[in-house]
Amino acid sequence: MADDNPPALPQNTTVHSLYKEGSSKRIALLTGLSLLVIISAVFSAGIGTVSISPQDTILAVGHSCAVSLQNFLHTYLPYVAGWYDSIPFTIPAPGNPQAELIVVGFRLPRIFLAILTGVSLAVAGAVMQGLLRNPLVSPFTLGLSSAASFGAALAIVIGPGIVAGLFMVSYDMFIVIMAFLFGWLSMLLVYWISRSRGTTQSTLILAGVVIGYIFTAGVMSLKYITNNEKLRELMIWLMGGMWGASWSAVLLLIPLVVICFVLLERMAWDLNALSAGDDVAKNLGINVERLRLSGLMISTFIASCCLAFTGVIGFIGLMGPHICRMIIGSDHRYLIPCAGLMGAAILLVSDTLARTIMSPVEIPVGIIMYAIGGVFFLFLIMRGRGRGLY
């Protein structure tokens, strides 16, 4: 019997040192990317049509938080408010009187939306690529964004009408809801189709691609039949951007993104095992069908949530995970958060450039993102050894 007489295990071996070295480098990269996102956010909040110093930016955020907290306490917890007011330290208001309105009111929601969208799309891409063992899979290739576009296009072209009136939602919110619903629907369709043939990765991918084309046909016909004014609105949505940013969107998305991220991160080891093939994963005790279903559903959900607010944002879902895999390898425990941060960094930097480079005119974020992301990716490929940290 295997456990009767366990042989002595080797200690402090090559494998131990390789593993530890790899882990510390991966943690270093995660820390580095987190800092990059934070620093980019501070700079991004400062630059724009009105330029605000980093110091004022931080003071504006701090002061605004302190004031909001004070108001909240005075309204709901007067007992604690007295204690809070007695704290001798206060955060001074920023030197620039407009700073607070500009930073907190306009730029921060946009920055948050960029970060949340970047994280969601890249995390969804990383998980989808792992689940389907295909590096070319992304929320795009699986028909998700075509479907969301169709939902949005439908909302824009037919207008809010009776349905939106019935549920008392605004026109903008109606577009968001329609985009989300159709994005989500696409994955249900993909899954339903592949169910009949067994959930192998090739049927799922093919089903996704085909569903994507069907919805694209829908978008094209809507473009064809609609009038000029709505066509322009539709084109802007299809180009994608952070125009839809608001605090209510951000506050809705934060918990959703956090919950989905935690759920997906918990699948990391199973995703690693899946890299050895379906058969081996099953032998390792993993319910492969259930993993695929739940993984695809959660990643689609979170990608649809963000796409609904931003319009079509491509590239990140494909390249974020890919770039990270080239740098830190394919251990999903690190790959998922790393891809998320990479996605956030790319989208945030691109969006900041998009709104400042020709200020006060904004250009679509896609133009910047495809250019800088593409160049960065090419750099990684051409460096030759762009693979792993070991």
Binding site: A2, N272, A276, N283, G329, R387
Partner: protein, 258 residues
């Protein structure tokens, strides 16, 4: 340890590909499944490895039906090496072997798990390649990594689907010797699908001969793998060479009557 396969059958889209096959493997025993392509070897291997479920019959380990065992626990009992191996571009040798410890790892990887990975790699003399990427290895080395992963599972039964098919003759002998020693030392059982009848002849304690999904022979290799049986199952005429190195099967001509 005893793994008993009792009357298992498997249907694919209404076609019966394995029909009522029964055999058993005990501690330190090697059972070889032989038969022509499409005779159901891989299907039986996959059924035992929980890749799919049998359509009828039962498999039990130490008299416990494997259907009643939790998949996580079962994964610690049966280690599997598939015929075709899959890996990702950015995975290293030791990360691939570490997957064999999946059911022992919650989140962080303990030193013990890493030690077992090293031990498994050392057993196949692959310790020096731990940090290499899978696509830097030759086909034979890759096959050994996958065997090392099954070793790391530390299972009670190994099920191998053509484990030596990608190996040259030296590796074939090395791997089979290593596997036989490990099976004996750990008191594990081993079920192996092979094409090379001489490997079955030399290393297996028992042979299951399959044809069109049916079991047509079961017993000690020397008794079962006779020229008559080989002719009947494969349609190949052969003779047995018996010299000071042992007995060998020499197939020499396809039977034109079949």
């Amino acid at each position: 340890m005893e793994l008993v396969i009792e009357n298992i059958s498997k249907d694919y889209e209404k076609k019966r590909v394995v029909d009522s096959v029964s055999f058993a493997v005990g501690s330190g025993e090697i059972v070889a499944l032989v038969g022509p392509n499409g005779s159901g070897k891989s299907t039986i291997i996959k059924t035992i490895a929980s890749v799919h479920r049998q359509s009828a019959g039962s498999i039990s380990i130490d008299r416990k039906n494997i259907d009643t065992i939790d998949p996580v626990d079962l994964a610690k009992m049966i280690g599997y090496v598939p015929q075709q191996f899959t890996y990702t571009l950015y995975s290293t040798v030791f990360e691939t072997v570490l997957l064999g410890r999946r059911q022992h790892i919650k989140w962080a990887v303990s030193d013990e798990e890493l030690s077992r990975v090293q031990q498994s790699l050392d057993a196949l003399e692959m310790g020096g390649m731990a940090g290499m990427f899978m696509d830097q290895l030759s086909g034979g080395e890759r096959q050994k990594v996958f065997i090392a992963r099954a070793l790391a599972q530390d299972p009670r039964v190994f099920v191998f689907d053509e484990p030596t098919s990608a190996l040259d003759i030296r590796y074939q002998i090395e791997v089979m010797e290593t596997m036989r020693n490990i099976t004996r030392e750990r008191g594990a059982g081993m079920i192996i699908a092979v094409h090379d009848l001489n490997l079955a002849y030399r290393y297996a304690d028992l042979v299951v001969v399959l044809n069109h999904g049916k079991m047509v022979g079961y017993g000690k290799p020397q008794e079962v793998l006779t020229p008559a049986c080989i002719n009947k199952v494969y349609g190949v005429e052969s003779f047995i060479v018996d010299n000071e190195f042992g007995k060998f099967i020499v197939p020499f001509r396809a039977n034109s009557a079949l």
